[in-house]
Symmetry: C2
Subunit: 202 residues, 2 copies
DNA sequence: GGGGTCATGTAATAGGTTACATGATTCT
DNA sequence: AGAATCATGTAACCTATTACATGACCCC
């Protein structure tokens, strides 16, 4: 199941998707990604794009379809999707939609080790987190509204609506967790003290 | 804000945390991580552990506190936390709890490009995803129950409870999204056909 | 005493990020 | 005409994953 893909970086999926509409040169892809706000969904930086384009070409998913020149600017290499590439796009995207994958968000890691912090601090940190989560929520909601107001079909804000759902869930969890932390305060503090053995190094 | 850390891999945070209790050699850390199920929260593999331990040592967060030998097994290098290391553990963990970070889950990327798939397929894929999400939910819930039944304090299942909250949110979103996809069916299919220009390469 | 698996690492490779480089256009 | 930004990449450097290696212990 899910044999390893020749190119694994999700940025490559975006490239395949854009090239499925028309051939482009890397810089044009770059502009598209930025303008379209895809950098909110897919980790993106200039260097990775060229890397990924190179990998896709080597794998046979895209191919040079010529080079063009505009004014006196340096030559641009234009790439187009191959048949293989179109198949890969379809297959990969289907897999991502069908199969939820185990991921490693930073907050999960933090929670799994949170016992190493004193409970009072944790309470305060969680409160601050809640403020920031509220900010993020507001921003995301505003972005969705603005976009829809601009006449874009709802389908194209699905990923932000998903984020919003996750944010709401996290907010709910953190509120609840913060409450419970105060209940565990005593027990937790005792366990911490025992394990740290009294010496406050630092 | 949040200047770059000398060692960024979250596996390093787990190492600092374990070493804050007592000095250990890498293989012991490895066993701990596996037995404790930390590999559900933090990406882990044998090679990375040695890499991370090396990086932490170079950064001065941990230091060799001697080498031991047991039977005729090869020598083991035992590492302990330094004062710097204890500070880094506290600072890093606090930051992770306080500041939500922008992340890039695969499903977000998929949603942002989902318009490239025909709507009927998407409906079917989403149904399959829901089944798998339900499985994951059941597994996670069972794991929590088993752990609590074993007498472990609730604090130590917080990360799984968080996962559960996210899973529920995702299930809700996907159910809703699947419904809306059927509504958009016509419009979506027309847009796809227009952009693919009739030629079904493959 | 031979076959697994535990214990302990090192080395080779691939993947990704940052920094560097350089000419064009545009603005003031 | 000089400064800022756009356009277009390449190269150097880090990080992370996989593969390789090797001796001990344990079971039949």
């Amino acid at each position: 199941m899910a044999r390893k893909r020749k190119v694994g970086n999700l940025l490559a999926l975006a490239v395949l998707s854009y090239l499925s509409r028309q051939p482009m040169h890397p810089y044009e892809l770059s502009r598209m990604l930025r303008e379209h706000g895809d950098d909110r969904s897919i980790k993106y930086n200039h260097g990775s794009l060229y890397m990924v384009v190179g990998q896709l070409a080597k794998a046979g998913f895209i191919t040079e379809v010529g080079t063009g020149r505009q004014g006196q600017l340096p030559e641009r290499t234009v790439y187009g999707l191959t048949g293989e590439g179109r198949r890969e796009l379809h297959d990969w995207l289907s897999e991502l939609v069908e199969q939820p994958r185990h991921e490693y968000p930073a907050f999960v890691a933090a929670l799994s080790l949170i016992g190493a912090l004193p409970p009072d601090e944790v309470g305060e940190l969680l409160r601050r987190r809640l403020e920031r989560l509220a900010d993020q929520r507001a921003e995301t909601a505003a972005l969705i509204e603005r976009t829809l107001a601009g006449g874009v079909p709802e389908l194209f804000v699905a990923e932000e609506q998903y984020r919003l759902a996750l944010l709401d869930a996290e907010i709910g969890f953190v509120e609840d967790f913060a409450r419970r932390v105060t209940e565990w305060r005593e027990e937790w503090a005792r366990a911490l003290a025992a394990q740290n053995g009294g010496d406050p190094a630092g």
